[in-house]
């Protein structure tokens, strides 16, 4: 009896008291390090009155940070959606020198601390940097502008787009394309009708995961951006600024908005994956 986790018969308390210790450790840990902090945020938000919440949440500076954060994250994840598809395609279907190296380096944004990423990106894309120097004559400034925020978000979210598409592409039957080809389909028809549809759930999942990561990103963006309100100030930086001014209510409201967006993105990811399983399972 002591070894079976929640089964049907005895009462809830009995189950809790007699649950195996791995269960108790799991729940204790989740409660202490996850539920308690989350509850702190929700409870704090609930102590504010609705009019106050609305005023803080729709403050012009706050609105502009949502715009910068969500719009830039969306653009970054869509760019990554296209680039990720091409990268995954090239890594799965072609042989070329340096392929293994490229495959391994895709995960760099997961391994490289974001402060380092922000630092090196801001140097390279600054107006006298290695790449920024080329763009300067065309009047394109990257570091300390919204474009810089975009570059940092592309960097941070890139692996998601590649790594979600790659395994699906690997499992795809090349025979299907051969069949489409031999039946007279053009390259474009083969791509649109045969290759793309089964990849779509994976591509969208990658875009949604990248978006979610980019929305929450702080480290690399704060270093490459100028953090100027109404220009390139993102919501996570605004939270920190509010905290530095001891404006806990302000930080809480913006934090809650960010949390709700993240949870919605998570829900969308799960829905896409569930649909994907149903149609292409």
């Amino acid at each position: 009896m002591t070894s079976s986790p929640p089964s049907s018969s005895p009462g809830l308390w009995h189950q809790i008291l007699h649950a195996p210790w791995t269960w108790r450790v799991t729940w204790f840990y989740l409660t202490l390090f996850l539920f308690l902090p989350m509850a702190a945020l929700v409870l704090k938000a609930l102590t504010l009155n609705p009019a106050e919440i609305w005023r803080i949440a729709t403050d012009p500076v706050a609105i502009s940070t949502y715009n910068v954060t969500f719009f830039t994250a969306l653009v970054a994840s869509i760019i990554n959606g296209f680039a990720g598809l091409i990268i995954a395609w090239v890594l799965v279907r072609y042989e070329f020198p340096g392929k293994r190296f490229l495959d391994a380096i895709i995960d760099l944004p997961f391994a490289l601390p974001t402060a380092v990423a922000g630092l090196t990106l801001s140097t390279i894309y600054s107006s006298n940097g290695l790449i920024g120097g080329f763009l300067e004559p065309f009047g394109i400034k990257v570091s300390f502008t919204r474009l810089g925020v975009l570059v940092a978000m592309i960097f941070i979210a890139l692996p998601f787009s590649v790594r979600t598409v790659q395994p699906v592409l690997q499992d795809m039957e090349a025979e299907m394309e051969e069949a489409a080809w031999s039946m007279g389909a053009s390259q474009w028809q083969t791509f649109w009708r045969v290759i793309l549809p089964p990849l779509m759930p994976a591509i969208l999942t990658g875009v949604a995961m990248g978006f979610s990561r980019a929305v929450g990103e702080y480290g690399s963006v704060v270093i490459i951006a100028g953090n100027i309100p109404f220009q390139d100030l993102i919501a996570p930086v605004l939270i920190i600024q509010r905290l530095e001014q001891f404006d806990y209510a302000g930080a809480t409201v913006v934090g809650t908005v960010l949390l709700l967006i993240s949870l919605s993105a998570l829900l969308v990811i799960n829905l896409i994956q569930a649909r994907g399983r149903r149609f292409y399972g």
């Binding site: 340096g98 490289l112 960097f155 702080y218 993240s262």
Partner: protein
């Protein structure tokens, strides 16, 4: 991985049988695009860390490496990882063992809950801890009365790191456990092994590669965490400043040599992480996926 090595020759042979000239042209165009894109976004920035760090030669590096604030930051980063990684390992193993090969209502919900920290902005995670343990937080008065400091101190930094890296190990070990099934454990139990013996001699050896993979990812993220730590640490130089915070501070003060020297250390950590990750993926056939 094994799967891909079987398929690639087929795919390549297939592509060769098509209108060779035109298709090859398309192939190299795409390969060039990939090199260009990854070059601009990943390769050049990564190489730049090494170039900038070695700009002033060895003396420049040594200057930072021997500075007191750098050493303190490196020490704090190390201490944080040394506490965070084992705690999350125990949690990850317990969670995976509780979930694997079992079926109960709410199981997939629990898995989503364990994955939750990956979807929460690190800054929001830090904010939660401040609202809980900060001066004006829920437990603030209680902590102040008993003289315990969590925010602007090591416990806060550790809790933030734990929050951010919580899911890694469970999510690597769980699939491995599911794949292995329970037959071996049942056999061991039938032969009279205790639960501990079964765990150490049967379960652990069968999941060691996945566990190691999770450990590497946990460690890399714990050492490099910036957003959550910024909020809870207070960034007190020499006291609660970790390496990522040291980098930001040096950068703001236009001390780019110090910033890049600290970055070099963390970039080396990233390279080691990538190499180990790559080896584990090849040796143990672990599938890489998004984190």
């Amino acid at each position: 991985m094994a799967d891909s090595s079987l398929r690639q020759p087929i795919a390549v042979a297939g592509s060769r049988s098509r209108k060779a000239g035109k298709f090859q042209w398309g192939k190299w165009l795409l390969v060039a695009f990939v090199f260009g894109f990854l070059g601009l976004i990943l390769l050049v920035p990564a190489l730049n860390v090494f170039i900038q760090a070695f700009k002033a030669g060895l003396p420049g590096l040594l200057d930072t490496f021997t500075s007191k604030f750098f050493l303190n930051a490196a020490k704090l980063t190390l201490i944080t990882a040394v506490i965070t990684v084992p705690l999350n390992t125990v949690f990850g193993l317990c969670a995976a063992l509780s979930l694997a090969n079992k079926n109960f209502p709410g199981r997939s919900l629990l898995i989503s809950i364990i994955d939750l920290p990956f979807s929460i902005s690190p800054v929001v995670a830090g904010l939660m801890l401040v609202l809980l343990f900060g001066n004006r937080g829920w437990f603030g008065p209680l902590l102040e009365a008993s003289g315990i400091k969590i925010i602007f101190a090591l416990p806060g930094i550790v809790m933030a790191s734990i929050f951010i890296t919580m899911p890694f190990i469970a999510r690597e070990v769980l699939p491995a456990l599911e794949e292995n099934g329970t037959q071996q454990e049942e056999a061991a139990a039938t032969l009279g092994a205790t639960q501990w013996q079964t765990f150490w001699r049967v379960t652990l050896p069968s999941i060691k590669w996945s566990l190691l993979y999770g450990l590497i990812l946990t460690n890399a993220r714990a050492m490099g965490e910036f957003g959550a730590v910024t909020v809870v640490s207070g960034n007190i130089v020499g006291k609660t400043q970790t390496l990522p915070l040291f980098i930001e501070e040096a950068h703001i003060q236009y001390n780019s040599q110090a910033a890049y020297t600290a970055s070099l250390l963390l970039a080396c950590l990233a390279v080691v992480t990538l190499v180990l990750k790559y080896l584990l993926e090849r040796r143990a056939g672990i599938q890489h996926r998004g984190h």
